[in-house]
């Protein structure tokens, strides 16, 4: 069996490999190449060295300030989403009536597209803020907390489902043993449950991290960077660079490459960090 598998390895992997290279590897390589070019379309790139990378960090390109805003957003979003999702998951694994209904309801927002969500929340937040004679785009703090609120609303349900799956897999004999040994609820939670659901925590932090970093639709629809680019996240900044000025698509591309390296780096570090804390059952 092992031998046959090896023999036909290529045959089985080929379709996926082809699709993967067409949809991912080739565009990626092309993208990296274009970040060293000045181009209008992918066909007519002219090599111009690292000029794009220099321009990406030039003052007024807004890359660093949008990166700062993104980092501020990501930290708060990760903590809030995971804590709230875990709390909900704990609640909904207790034997409460209508657990399934609640689970479905909390999961629903995740099925709505980001643009729609952005506009919906924009209307809702504005209708509240307008009562107080101001609006979402008046101050960057409004936009910031608006984005956090939106992301929480959207992501908590999804993360909750993952945590629920994790919690259901915590062996009951362990919990029982803890109870017999006289552990309090808090002790059980921190010494038994959380270490046991560490794999779920790894997945959830990774998902929230990468999704918050790469956030685009919601950002575009909710504030589009107003006031004056102060709520502009990196992905939006890249797109604005790409289309904002003639001849700057290469700079946008360079920023995208830097952004990719950054997100990949942070994501890997986080994976290593949380993996270490996982325990074998």
């Amino acid at each position: 069996m092992q031998k046959t598998l090896k023999k036909y390895f290529l045959v089985f992997i080929l379709p996926t490999l082809l699709a993967f290279s067409m949809a991912f590897i080739i565009p990626f390589i092309l993208g990296v190449y274009l970040s060293f070019c000045e181009f209008t379309t992918v066909d007519n790139g002219k090599f111009n060295g690292i000029q794009n990378y220099i321009n990406a960090f030039a003052s007024g390109s807004g890359f660093l300030s949008s990166l700062g805003f993104t980092v501020k957003f990501v930290i708060v979003a990760i903590v809030l989403i995971n804590v709230l999702a875990f709390g909900l998951a704990l609640l909904l694994t207790k034997k409460i009536k209508g657990t399934n209904v609640f689970r479905t309801v909390f999961f629903m927002p995740n099925l709505i597209g980001g643009i729609v969500l952005g506009y919906t929340w924009q209307q809702m937040l504005n209708s509240v803020l307008l009562q107080h004679g101001t609006n979402l785009l008046a101050k960057s703090t409004y936009g910031y907390w608006g984005l956090i609120l939106l992301m929480n609303w959207q992501m908590i349900g999804y993360m909750m489902i993952i945590y629920i799956a994790g919690l259901q897999n915590v062996p009951t004999d362990l919990l029982e043993a803890a109870r017999i040994d006289g552990a309090t609820n808090t002790q059980t939670l921190f010494k038994v449950t959380i270490p046991m659901v560490m794999p779920s925590i790894t997945i959830c932090t990774f998902l929230t991290l990468s999704n918050s970093f790469k956030l685009y639709d919601q950002n575009l629809a909710l504030t589009a960077g107003a006031p004056s680019h102060q709520t502009e996240m990196v992905a939006l900044n890249i797109v604005n660079t790409f289309y904002g000025r003639t001849g700057y698509s290469g700079v946008g591309q360079a920023k995208a490459v830097i952004f990719f390296i950054l997100v990949a780096g942070v994501g890997l570090m986080q994976l290593l960090f949380t993996r270490k804390r996982e325990v074998d059952q």
Binding site: N135, A224, A226, P227, G244, G247
Partner: protein, 478 residues
């Protein structure tokens, strides 16, 4: 064993069909190029001849073999374009495909479409700045009949080599649209500051009237004089582009130049005049303007809640199509945008274009010929012209159009009236030289901050000046 063999065979055949499927697509369009390499060396001459013959055929049959693919810019006229395409195909057999880019996504759509095998043969650019970006894809149209029909040749986009690469296909005008019925009601009130619209021919008078109207808004049954100054990001083009055209127009005129690296914004106060008038006499408070979009301000006008709105003749559809519309066709009129510049009594509407047709220089000759034939049909045949004036509502700047073949919607009529009035000087569209989208966006942001009270007017002026200089430097540095 047999089972295993069969399943393996199935797998292989599945993959094979997939590969063949993919290969096919890539092969056909590249046929010409392949001929030489696949044939034996000895047949080279023959193969070359064959290819030539094929080319000749394509050339002589021109429109026959070619296809037209138009990437349309105006979402509001998508239905009309589909209809035109179908009609032309029926008439001549030439395949015409029209795809419409989503609002605000034209550049992005064009960027991805133009590298495809089946690329647009006809697309549009927005002026010299757009030409700079797309010059590799624009074909010289100097020798076409279509260009020869153009009334004002200076409107076309010329390259450095003297070729003509973009031809305007529509002339548009904008100003302050007002509702005659509400104005008449005001003129009839006691102590009205003017007796008719003719008296309003400068900023001072306009301000006097508007402020008096605001004071009497209950009596006039309106919520404000002006519709909301929409400043939601992406909805702010009426201010950062159209209204900003006026100060730039006057500054360029004073300096007698057509482009400028550093804008002094000498007419900033004039811009502030009219902008403040808009936001302080509107149906929406200044602090709410960054939540407003263009559609809602056009609706406010259509529903009779306000007396005036700044927009162009393309806005007629938006006024006319609003459900519960209370504005009658004969009451919709244009007023030039007065900003308090000396001698503005003779100023007309802002008339110009930022829509230029370009033919894809990388398309096959047959496709190019078909595309030009399509354009010439559209702008010279009776059916085509009918579509242009009545369905698309374009004021076409070509000599193939008789006086009787002008659009009949009230705003287009008004634009024509102002253009024909020799006592008025039209303001040309100079925002085609605005350095970049980034500049416009930042200007819009600054205006939003000004309305929200987080920026002073001086900050706005500073933003305009520095961003103009920065963006001009960044886009022309190469």
């Amino acid at each position: 064993m047999k089972k295993k063999l069969i399943s393996t065979l199935l797998c292989v055949s599945m993959v094979a069909t997939m590969l063949v499927g993919c290969g096919d697509k890539g092969d056909t369009p590249a046929n010409d190029g392949n001929t030489d390499t696949t044939d034996d060396a000895g047949d080279d001459a023959e193969a070359g001849d064959d290819a030539d013959a094929a080319d000749d055929q394509g050339g002589s049959a021109s429109a026959e073999g070619g296809k037209v693919y138009y990437l349309n810019f105006k979402p509001e006229s998508d239905d009309t374009w589909q209809q035109i395409a179908a009609e032309y195909t029926e008439l001549t057999g030439t395949e015409v495909k029209v795809v419409t880019a989503a609002s605000g996504q034209y550049e992005a759509t064009l960027t991805s479409e133009i590298v495809k095998e089946d690329a647009p043969t006809l697309f549009q650019i927005n002026g010299p700045v757009g030409y700079n970006n797309w010059k590799d894809y624009c074909m010289d149209l100097k020798d076409t009949d279509y260009y020869s029909w153009l009334l004002d040749k200076s409107l076309a986009i010329e390259g450095e080599d003297g070729g003509v690469y973009g031809i305007p296909y529509v002339v548009e005008g904008y100003g302050i649209i007002y509702n005659q019925a509400i104005m008449d009601k005001y003129f009839a009130t006691e102590g009205a500051k003017a007796a008719s619209m003719d008296e309003i021919n400068n900023f001072a008078k306009l301000k006097e009237v508007v402020e008096d109207m605001t004071a009497k808004k209950d009596e006039l049954e309106i919520e404000g004089v002006f519709a909301s100054t929409s400043l939601l990001p992406g909805e702010d083009w009426r201010w950062q582009t159209h209204l900003a055209n006026l100060p730039v127009y006057y500054e360029l005129k004073d300096k007698d130049v057509t482009d400028i690296d550093e804008l002094e914004f000498t007419y900033a106060d004039n811009y502030k005049n009219i902008f403040d008038l808009y936001i302080n006499n509107s149906c929406s408070a200044p602090g709410t303007l960054t939540t407003m979009d263009v559609t809602s301000s056009m609706a406010e006008f259509a529903l009779g809640q306000v007396a005036m709105v700044q927009n162009g003749n393309w806005g007629w559809g938006q006024i006319n199509d609003v459900a519960g519309n209370t504005v009658t066709e004969s009451d919709v009129k244009f007023l030039p945008i007065y900003t308090g510049v000396d001698g503005e009594e003779n100023q007309g509407l802002c008339v110009g274009t930022e829509n230029f047709y370009c033919v894809n220089s990388k398309a096959s000759e047959a496709d190019q010929a078909a595309t030009i034939a399509f354009l010439e049909w559209l702008y010279s045949s009776a059916e085509g012209k009918n579509h242009v004036t009545n369905d698309l509502g374009f004021i076409a700047p070509f000599n193939t159009f008789e006086d009787s073949e002008k659009p009949t919607d009230p705003l287009a009529q008004e634009v024509l009236r102002y253009m024909e009035d020799s006592s008025k000087t039209s303001v040309s569209w100079n925002f085609t030289i605005f350095p970049s989208q980034s500049f416009k966006d930042d200007f819009g942001f600054a205006l939003g901050d000004y309305c929200n009270g987080s920026k002073t007017w001086d900050d706005v002026v500073e933003t305009v000046k520095t961003r103009w200089a920065e963006e001009k430097a960044a886009t022309t540095a190469e």
